[in-house]
């Protein structure tokens, strides 16, 4: 079999063939065909139920689409223009940003702290704590939300009974409602980051830590100079997934406050739902979806930049 030169000075005849360096043409073809066949089932689902809806989202955002699809007309960027004059949209955008800006750093810092506390523990104890902090995620947003709704209840809720503030309506108060949401979101968000941090801290090179300790490094120095750079990729990942999740905060809002009181807890995702589901304005909802996706992309990109440069 003729061996193509794979790491010589010149690449093979066609530059594209580098993918197949060291293979005969027949073999390359066989590889390609079998690869496509292996990919086919998965791609059918991916294209059909992820890519196509994404495309639809973009296209429909330019249409005035309602329940009666025969009345659909092309309106260009009208939906996008309307959005930035829509007070409820702007309020929802603001609330969402507040939630993200508070919860993302809080979740990241707290899960790093818990992760650092539990990773040196014996493996049984470690997996116990990991489970405990993951419990609110597994329990499911609906079950968690309904029990919190009860605990926040003005008359027979646990919180008022403990604090002796019976009658106070946590979720009906414009000032406290959003903080209640952020608190519950926090308990359902830290499970995954903790699991990731425990794994990442467990992978930090122990000989480096020991060497530093021998050289008299303080705990803080060991953390910032040795552990932090090594867990940076995990931190970045945690930041990105927590941002995406916080931006999509929905179930809590829909089940606890329905965006109220007076729009003080309406988030983008909740408003998109409201517009699509209760007003059947699909075009407008899709346009807001596009903007939400863009905002998340920008946030993720910024975090990526900051975390990268932070490391020098």
């Amino acid at each position: 079999m003729a061996q193509t030169v794979s790491n010589g000075a010149k690449p093979a005849k066609k530059p594209k063939r580098r993918e197949f360096s060291g293979m005969s043409r027949a073999l390359a073809r066989r590889e390609t065909i079998s690869a496509y066949l292996f990919l086919l089932p998965s791609m059918l689902f991916f294209v059909g139920f992820v890519l196509i809806p994404m495309g639809m989202c973009l296209v429909y955002s330019l249409f005035n689409m309602g329940l009666d699809t025969s009345a659909t007309t092309f309106i260009g960027v009208q939906n996008y223009v309307e959005m930035f004059q829509d007070k409820t949209f702007l309020r929802s955008l603001w609330n969402t940003i507040v939630i993200v800006v508070v919860s993302v750093p809080a979740v990241t810092a707290f899960s790093l702290w818990v992760g650092s506390a539990i990773y040196p523990m014996a493996s049984g104890l470690r997996s116990f704590f990991r489970c405990v902090f993951y419990l609110p995620v597994v329990t499911g947003s609906v079950a968690v939300t309904v029990v919190w709704k009860w605990m926040f209840n003005p008359y027979n809720g646990l919180l008022n009974q403990i604090f002796g503030t019976v009658g106070f309506d946590w979720l009906g108060n414009q000032k406290t409602a959003i903080w209640c949401i952020i608190m519950i979101l926090f308990t359902t968000s830290i499970g995954q980051p903790i699991v990731l941090y425990v794994a990442a801290l467990g992978n930090v090179d122990k000989s480096l830590i020991e060497a530093a300790q021998v050289d008299g490094a303080t705990k803080l120095q060991v953390f910032w100079k040795i552990k932090w750079p090594q867990i940076l990729p995990t931190t970045l990942y945690v930041l990105v997934i927590t941002t995406i999740n916080s931006f999509q905060c929905f179930a809590l809002i829909q089940l606890l406050t329905r965006g109220g009181p007076l729009g003080s807890t309406s988030t983008l995702m909740y408003y998109i739902f409201d517009v699509a589901y209760n007003y059947q304005r699909f075009g407008y909802a899709n346009a807001m979806g596009v903007i939400l996706a863009l905002i998340i992309a920008v946030f993720s990109a910024v975090q990526f930049r900051v975390t990268k440069t932070d490391n020098g």
């Binding site: 639809m56 947003s141 999509q248 899709n286």
Partner: protein, 276 residues
């Protein structure tokens, strides 16, 4: 170690803080379960009853007057079907992405990662329109099919497939083993832990994917348990005993599954993280 005493002290301090937090995180689940066996008088009493002294089953009797069993069956069906299909398609695709060379591999991989970074919920509204056009809205498949399409599984299986030594695959090829046989007898046994991780991960996440279920399933016959409780809460918002019974029914099976397979689950989360 010269400072072992200090270490020991800070360690017990840490354990204490962790235990305190653990109580806070377990409490909602405890309150759901105990609340489900309290009677209306206890629930509406001005003082909380920390432990149900006289547990009753009335709330469950009331719950099962609703089609709660049907909701549970629907949820199990959705989670199992999504799990099976995801594992099958993702195992095949992940292996191809990790071990095969073909045109468009890099583009495809980039596309998958980018899609994963997008908010999943945003495409649910256009998905509803697509499902209506296909005539499968208000069927359980409207929840199952999009779940299978989400590229996380492919990504996870690619990570696992990369651990397969290429030499073994080449040896099999030289021995004249066909693609299907190579996959079944060599690749599959090696990525089994990965499939386990993906299976449990998909099962738990599908069970709890309230938003997708809410948009796709509007008729009571196709409700999932999450939708059922949400509906109960909307209709009888002050009957907390009944709502807690529903929440128990939704939470206990999935928590049990999680606890049984948590090793795989943790593995799935860690392997799915984009490294570097």
């Amino acid at each position: 170690m010269n400072n072992s005493k200090l270490d020991g002290q800070s360690k017990s301090y840490r354990v204490f803080a962790a235990v305190l937090l653990a109580v806070f995180f377990i409490f909602p689940l405890y309150w759901i379960i105990t609340g489900s066996v309290k009677d209306a008088i206890t629930i509406n009493a001005p003082q909380p009853q920390w432990f149900p002294l006289h547990p009753i089953m009335d709330n469950y009797v009331k719950l099962f007057r609703q089609p709660a069993i049907k909701w549970l069956v629907n949820t199990v069906f959705i989670a199992l079907a999504a799990m099976g299909l995801t594992c099958l398609t993702a195992a095949l695709a992940g292996y191809a992405l990790a071990k095969k060379r073909f045109y468009g591999r890099k583009i495809l991989f980039t596309l998958l990662v980018c899609a994963m970074a997008l908010p999943k919920q945003v495409i649910v509204i256009p998905l509803l329109q697509e499902m209506s056009a296909l005539g499968i809205n208000n069927t359980l498949w409207a929840v199952i099919l999009p779940t299978v399409g989400w590229p996380f599984g492919v990504f996870l299986m690619k990570q696992f497939s990369e651990t397969i030594p290429t030499e073994i695959l080449e040896a099999a090829r030289v021995d004249g083993s066909g693609e299907v046989r190579t996959f079944c007898s060599i690749v599959f046994p090696m990525i089994k832990p990965g499939i386990g991780a993906l299976a449990i991960f998909t099962f738990v996440n599908t069970w709890n994917d309230y938003f997708l279920q809410l948009i796709m399933l509007q008729q009571k016959e196709v409700f999932t348990i999450s939708l059922g409780i949400a509906r109960l809460q909307g209709e009888m918002s002050s009957d907390f005993g009944l709502i807690m019974a529903g929440a128990t029914l939704a939470a206990i099976p999935i928590v049990a599954v999680f606890l049984m397979f948590q090793k795989y689950f943790t593995q799935g989360i860690t392997m799915g993280a984009v490294k570097g």
